[in-house]
Symmetry: C2
Subunit: 483 residues, 2 copies
């Protein structure tokens, strides 16, 4: 069912007010990673709660406990949950978003005040911290609610909301809340949810809408090599002792080929080659090697073949070396032999890779390779962090609805993408609620989330609002399991 | 000629006052690397000048120009030069020392105030910043001067002094002054100098006096690898692009074997094997693999053979990897692909290696190895710093005199050592004056120069004062070229 003209017209007619709404949200510097801004995150939570209630949503502010940060103990910002509609004949969609933002200072290189939305009418770009990540999408949902509430239009589905204020700081406290609510079943805030929709990622490029159905997992390691009791002077000891840095670079050099083939035995076990269907998805994507190199800022693609490069970033595992802890990292020419050095690297994982299994393989390989070095330094392997990969069924009605809605709003088929990184809450919902999760991005690939001069194109905001609403109508219409 | 009993007895009788002299010097926090302490370096210069004059030395305070430090323009501390004795029948010895010190704070881990000499009578250790590096040795010379002046004893040689206040900060300004004075010939401050004596290094251990006749040179490099336009997120780009860190660890892994054999072709050219005479020196040293490992704080010696380990630290070149600039170096698990990374390493050089030649060989090798990587990242090699190695004729009368003096004071033959690191002013004197330079250490290997709880043993201070004086008498006596 195409969204009613009444809804679409309202969005067009009220676009200036919708922009004002975004400006109001951007003006609250709700930086979750900065203890001195914690009050602003609370203020933002209250603002979101009040907006939801204006449009008939029943809400609650859920305390998530305490946080230890910068030597202080602070209250975590609450999760704002909401529900509207309880018609058992309608599907129920859970909407997730986050109202906290990354830090931003004019001195970082912003052209305008990051907390004052700057709408450049010539380019159609609205600059401001949080414009695209993730206040724009939350405003999109508020706009949809307003359009229905003000016009007395019934919503086509029951809606549940879960908006958080700690996403940019590891979503502290949220997982426990989601798990606890899920256990409550029908009586919990997420009772009866048929599918989840998360708008917190981006199109692959600046041209074509996208639906995202996969995220890579992670296994993060630190190889710690020790030798001397303290840092030594290379003038005095150089040549006479086994040096930890020397062992470390030898090991780091054995992890992956220059063009990205991981050298750890067994790491590719079980990963199937892409079949014709899957290859077709990559071939269909509106994305080129030139797009990748433009985004990377250098002619450094591992291949000139489009599908190869796309699979490398979306559906194949990868291994990156991030840096060294404990060695000399300053400018200048210090002649130190560092005593304890840690080499940080991580693998991005894809199904069926599991972090625990990868961890065992990495550790076995490193112990073998370390033994071959015949150094008298010692090695310890730290496992810092892990996350399982996620792939959704992109033929599920949740995706089908989003696809039809995209085609109706943008007159263009969406790219079906997988993200190279992780959005951990996706897995939390998928695992705890056992329903399909859709990643439905509003912004473009060049929006610069987390970067200076973050922006959202006004067309993505207004068309995006129409898309979110249209998606609900298509969900209502489409054949699919009603849980 | 053994030093007269009158001199030796005076030193014994006045040891408490000599300790007070050292305490007075230590109390002036003449930290050359700290702009806020610059006045104290000037104060220390004036103090040294006044002491010299008390004992009949004609002095001058030589301005060395300006320094740019921490955003300020400061006057460099002056060099204090002095002369006493102009007897053409006597040899003329130039004494060098530095009256500036390294920074020190109780909070670094000092057990006592670093700028208040703490004499622990039980252990005989005098703790304080500069106690051994290099105020102790300067006080030693002042003590020698006092003993002669107060007793009306003629000095056995003509003396020239060059004391500086910027040694711990690269001896800024001093090289130019030495070169200019040397050009003046007989009319300059260093006219007629027959040999140089520098007390600014340490015994190999805590048991046996040493004479040092060699210093390794240095060639310091930074391999800079660039790729992306800015740091990338490994979730988004990992696997799809060539990564600079990956190329860097590959190159750093090709520089040197774990046990220290340098892999750069031609780097060992011209370095002769140690002959029987030289091996004898190493066999004679009061030093063991256990001493090395105790000093290093770990069982990490590259060999269990004494001579092999000693040659590795003194007379063979070495290569150490110091660290990485531009990569992630913090704690935690940041998933960055660093865009520009610099790998810092340096070679310690021995005769006949020359930094320029080594540089050419290193650069050629790295370019060849980089080409083999087939990465699309780019490489640039920065040469940060170089210094030529130095070896003196340890059979020169200057060393012979020091050896006899050591045997008479300590009743023990000195270790003939070469230092693994550099003392740049040694080369400046050797090259500009064209005379033999002797490194005659006062302190022990465990004194902890530059470290917390720096100390000088009182016996090294008092016996050391006797040694400096005795050395002058042996110089006067010994057969040798009078320039
Ligand atoms: Zn976000
Ligand atoms: Zn974000
Ligand atoms: Zn020194
Ligand atoms: Zn020093």
């Amino acid at each position: 069912m195409v969204a009613p003209k009444q809804f679409l017209d309202y969005v067009e007619a009220n676009s200036t007010r919708f922009i004002d709404r975004l400006a109001e949200a951007v003006a609250i510097p709700s930086i979750s990673g900065d203890a001195s801004r914690r009050n602003d995150v609370f203020k933002m939570a209250a603002w979101v709660k009040a907006e939801l209630e204006k449009f008939g949503v029943k809400t609650d502010s859920i305390p998530l406990g305490k946080q230890h940060i910068e030597g202080q103990v602070l209250d975590l910002p609450p999760a704002i949950v909401g529900r509207i509609g309880d018609d058992p004949k309608k599907k129920t969609i859970l909407i997730y978003g986050h109202f906290d933002v990354q830090p931003a200072n004019v001195s970082d290189g912003w052209n305008t005040d990051p907390f004052k939305l700057h709408f450049d009418k010539e380019t159609g770009k609205m600059f401001g911290r949080g414009s695209t990540d993730d206040k724009g999408p939350i405003m999109g949902w508020l706009n949809v609610l307003e359009a229905h509430h003000k016009q007395g239009l019934p919503l086509p589905v029951n809606l549940r909301f879960c908006f958080e204020g700690m996403e940019e700081s590891g979503s502290e406290g949220l997982d426990d809340f989601i798990a606890a609510e899920a256990k409550k079943g029908a009586s919990g805030w997420f009772g009866g949810v048929d599918a989840v929709c998360i708008s917190d990622n981006y199109w692959l490029n600046d041209r074509t809408p996208a639906l995202t159905y996969g995220l890579r997992g992670l296994a993060y390691f630190n190889i710690v090599i020790s030798g001397p009791g303290a840092d030594l002077h290379s003038g005095i000891f150089g040549g006479a002792v086994f040096e930890p840095m020397n062992a470390l670079v030898a090991l780091l050099g054995k992890l992956v080929t220059q063009d990205g083939r991981i050298l750890i035995p067994g790491v590719y076990d079980g990963i199937s080659a892409a079949d014709a269907d899957e290859l077709q998805i990559y071939e269909n994507l509106d994305y080129s090697v030139a797009d990748l190199e433009a985004a990377a800022g250098g002619h450094i693609a591992v291949s000139q073949d489009k599908a190869t490069v796309i699979m490398a970033r979306m559906r194949n595992p990868s291994l990156s070396i991030h840096g060294i802890e404990g060695a000399f990292s300053g400018v200048g020419a210090k002649t130190v032999i560092p005593a304890n050095v840690g080499g940080k690297f991580s693998l991005r994982l894809v199904p069926p890779q599991q972090p625990d299994d990868i961890r065992a393989k990495v550790e076995k390989y490193l112990h073998e390779e370390f033994a071959k070095l015949n150094t008298r330094c010692s090695m310890k392997i730290e496992y810092l962090h892990g996350g399982i990969p996620w792939v959704a069924d992109h033929k599920h009605w949740n995706y089908e609805a989003a696809k039809i809605a995209t085609e109706s709003v943008y007159r263009k088929s969406p790219d079906f993408t997988r993200e190279g990184g992780s959005i951990p809450v996706t897995l939390t919902f998928a695992e705890n609620l056992g329903v399909n999760v859709l990643l439905l991005p509003m912004g473009r690939g060049d929006d610069g989330a987390h970067s200076t001069n973050e922006k959202l194109d006004v067309s993505n905001y207004i068309q995006g609002t129409k898309l979110l609403g249209s998606y609900l109508y298509e969900v209502a219409e489409i054949t699919g399991t009603k849980a």
